[in-house]
Subunit: 493 residues, 2 copies
């Protein structure tokens, strides 16, 4: 009986996986990426819809990714001399109003508190959409002399920008992020910081999210409300749409003049500080899902996978298999690998395999009687479904995790390459945006009306001007007027 | 000249410190603890007043303490199987209304959002004062079977409870905390969690904050709005007032019935879950300041000190002293000790010493020509001002840090002992509350009117009933009626 049940268990496994898959998975990434995305984020237990319009709940499995990101990024921020602090979530409207273009940009998205402690407030408070104004009112107080500079503070917090429809992670009224805010004695020093943040973000995306992309300057109409220059990191999703994931702003002296943040320089003369701000949000988790997921579910890059290895006893009611599974988990954990055992007795092996494939765990280990006997375990990679046997599990798992991390990056790089086009005329531009989409690199005259027309006809806007893009002589792809630079265009999330 | 200036620098140092102290420090803890507290929190750079009534800014030095606390507590929470997640900051009023005593308790403290995205909302949203209601509406959806239990989620987030006057850290409209929320199949399992959390908090207070105290049950009138039982950790401040720092609630089935969080048990019968919630906030940083500070400033326990060792070159413009200071910092850092160098050339040694004493850095190291020559450095302890020379700085600093940590705890324990009284009658009760104050352990009949009268006459309320307090036969200290237990009374922050 035991052998019969085992044979049935292992050999009907493939059928079961397909059955489970067919039953539970109605959405395919290859068919409709948007439906697939909404479905998989919930089924993989990353997040859920909340009773508050526009807001989401980040479930522990999704929050685990955010914690790993924080553990990677926070030391880089501190290494640069920036310290974490915390500023109030409420901003008096009068403060927001101090920088004109800033308040114009954010007004339509504000949540407003009008009552507190049972009374109507004499001045309504905005729930922070970003913290420039509330922080800089303090910076004004703290900065007096050149000795107080640079002032380098970061916050990990929640912000609110009103949305009516929830797109989990990608567009939510409330989201989590870090926002760094620095003040400097010179523009040069500030600009160095703007570049540092943008490149730090690019590095995090590449090394942790396994997502390559472009860092560049936003156009005048796309830059942050209140900034002189905005740099952004733009990634390409498999459906040909760009996702802007984080931004780094050169605020110049716009805010320091509005908030009177000035200092006595070494010659005892009053100067306004030069400022930067830069942010990276939970939107990045949406990018992670979109970039690497497949029809079966998530594929998490090992460095951001809350569980890197799932160990499945084939027959959880067999104490030998369960014990050995737990031993393997302990062995892997002591080598710093995040491993867990799933020995639920009420779920078949096929069901459990399917469940962890949906959740995108990079490596699955199966422990059955054959494995117990031979001491050689079946390892299955989530990215390629490649199977192999291992007697030295810590070594082989470590190697496979590194290989999965680099394979996902290689696939995303391939995708970026495939979806980046150079074109010669606007007809080609339109044709690409009707078909494969992706990034288009093309001359643009930098005129706002022209930018709007292109977007009107193709849904593709300017994404950025690459940092290392050299000045050339060319003609705008749309209007034919003189153009100095090729810009990156794309439709966007 | 160099020698003259050195002699002047080192030997006039004591005078300078006193001058700096006299000039800058107007408030003495021993004279008026409340004025001292407000003054020292700002001067030590822990926090500042914000432009938003009732809200504070946590500056990097204060936030650094919170980060160290998180680094200590988060692993303990995870070890217990609890995972971090994130729920919306907004709560629809209708959800808050679901549990009657809960909404009654929190209504007077709510901040209400009435407008979002430029429009008036059809249903106003409360900014979370605590997350029971928004979380449990999700728990209802997530819990179906006994297999979904226990459900163990924690959040590190911000909450808002309206206050008009700011008492930095101790009473602010917005504060940071963690709130753990668990759901269980049995009351026994839930109660184990309530106890675990309370004892975990006590351990953190003892081992990190160097603050001892009592864990006990709150009276009916003092328990959390919606709880069956509330446990709290009560610490004694040097001025004889108690500070409640964290609470752990047995919610019974109050919320599960109100929110219909039910599951099919193993016999396929419907049952309501048993719930707990427990929280620990930035209020604890206020306790830290009050408990250990002295007339000169903070005294931070090494385990929660963002900077454990400050290294001061006596003459920062002497490159040998500066280099050696940096080398020492590197040596200490590589041993896992948080060390920094303060080589500001525009500040005298005395000024710098005073500055770091105010900030409560546990150990100061001075590096002058004598030290360079001998290779033996002057170490000064912040807790005792004890001075000694060290040739093996990493070893001696490590030893001193451990000694400071236990010395601060011993002092706080001594204070707790001195300020805990057993009394025989209400006359003694009143006398103690007029003089040294502190905790009083006395029989109470558990009648609410009696509790109110005692508070009316002495400002001292019930703090808690110790967990291990045995049932005895006694007479209420106030009304003389029968009483079963001695309770802990105190005036409170």
């Amino acid at each position: 009986m035991a052998i019969m049940s085992l044979v049935k268990e292992r050999f009907s496994c493939i059928i079961e996986i397909h059955m489970a898959y067919d039953k539970s998975q109605k959405k395919k990434k290859s068919e409709n990426i948007s439906d697939w995305y909404n479905d998989i984020v919930v089924r993989a237990d990353l997040a859920d819809y909340s009773p508050v319009k526009g807001c989401m709940v980040i479930k522990p499995y999704g929050y685990g990714i955010w914690e790993l990101l924080q553990a990677a990024m926070d030391p880089l921020i501190k290494e640069k001399g920036v310290r974490n602090g915390y500023f109030p979530i409420f901003i008096p409207i009068s403060l927001l109003n101090k920088e004109k273009s800033h308040v114009e940009g954010f007004s339509p998205e504000l949540a407003i508190v009008t009552h507190g402690g049972g009374e109507e407030l004499s001045e309504p408070l905005a729930v922070r959409p970003t913290s420039e104004t509330i922080m800089y009112e303090m910076y004004k107080k703290w900065v007096q002399s050149w000795r107080d500079l640079p002032l380098l503070i970061n916050q990990w917090n929640n912000v609110v920008r009103w949305e009516k429809r929830t797109y989990l992670f990608l567009r939510t009224t409330e989201f989590l992020w870090q926002e760094g805010h620095t003040a400097h004695a010179t523009h040069e020093e500030a600009w160095d910081f703007v570049l540092w943040a943008a490149n730090m973000y690019r590095g995090i995306y590449r090394d942790y999210f396994a997502i390559p992309g472009f860092v560049g300057k936003k156009s005048e109409s796309e830059k942050f409300a209140g900034a002189v220059t905005t740099l952004s990191f733009e990634a390409m999703m498999p459906d040909g749409k760009a996702l802007q994931n984080c931004t780094s702003h050169d605020l110049g002296q716009n805010f320091s003049k509005a908030f009177d943040i000035s200092f006595q320089n070494k010659d005892s003369k009053k100067e306004y500080v030069w400022q930067t701000s830069w942010g990276f949000s939970t939107r990045s988790i949406g990018a992670l899902v979109l970039a690497h997921g497949d029809d079966k579910g998530l594929r998490l890059p090992p460095k951001l996978a809350p569980i890197q290895v799932i160990i499945l006893p084939v027959q959880p009611d067999d104490s030998k298999q369960l014990t050995r599974s737990n031993e393997l988990a302990t062995e892997l954990s002591s080598a710093g690998i995040r491993a867990e055992v799933d020995g639920r007795e009420d779920e078949t092996l096929g069901f459990r395999i399917n469940k962890w494939e949906v959740k995108g765990v990079p490596i699955r280990v199966e422990v059955g009687p054959k494995e117990i006997e031979s001491g050689s375990y079946l390892l299955v990679r989530r990215d390629t479904f490649e199977k192999f046997n291992s007697k030295n599990i810590t070594k082989d798992v470590s190697k496979a995790l590194a290989s999965i991390q680099s394979n996902l990056l290689a696939q995303a790089e391939e995708n970026l390459k495939k979806l980046t086009s150079e074109i010669n005329n606007f007809k080609e531009f339109e044709e690409i945006m009707r078909t494969k989409k992706g990034f288009i690199r093309a001359f643009w005259c930098e005129d706002k009306a022209c930018e709007e027309s292109i977007k009107g006809k193709t849904k593709a806007g300017t994404r950025c001007l690459l940092l290392d893009e050299k000045e050339e002589k060319g003609k705008c792809v749309y209007c034919g007027n003189e153009a100095k630079h090729k810009w990156i265009f794309a439709q966007a999330y």
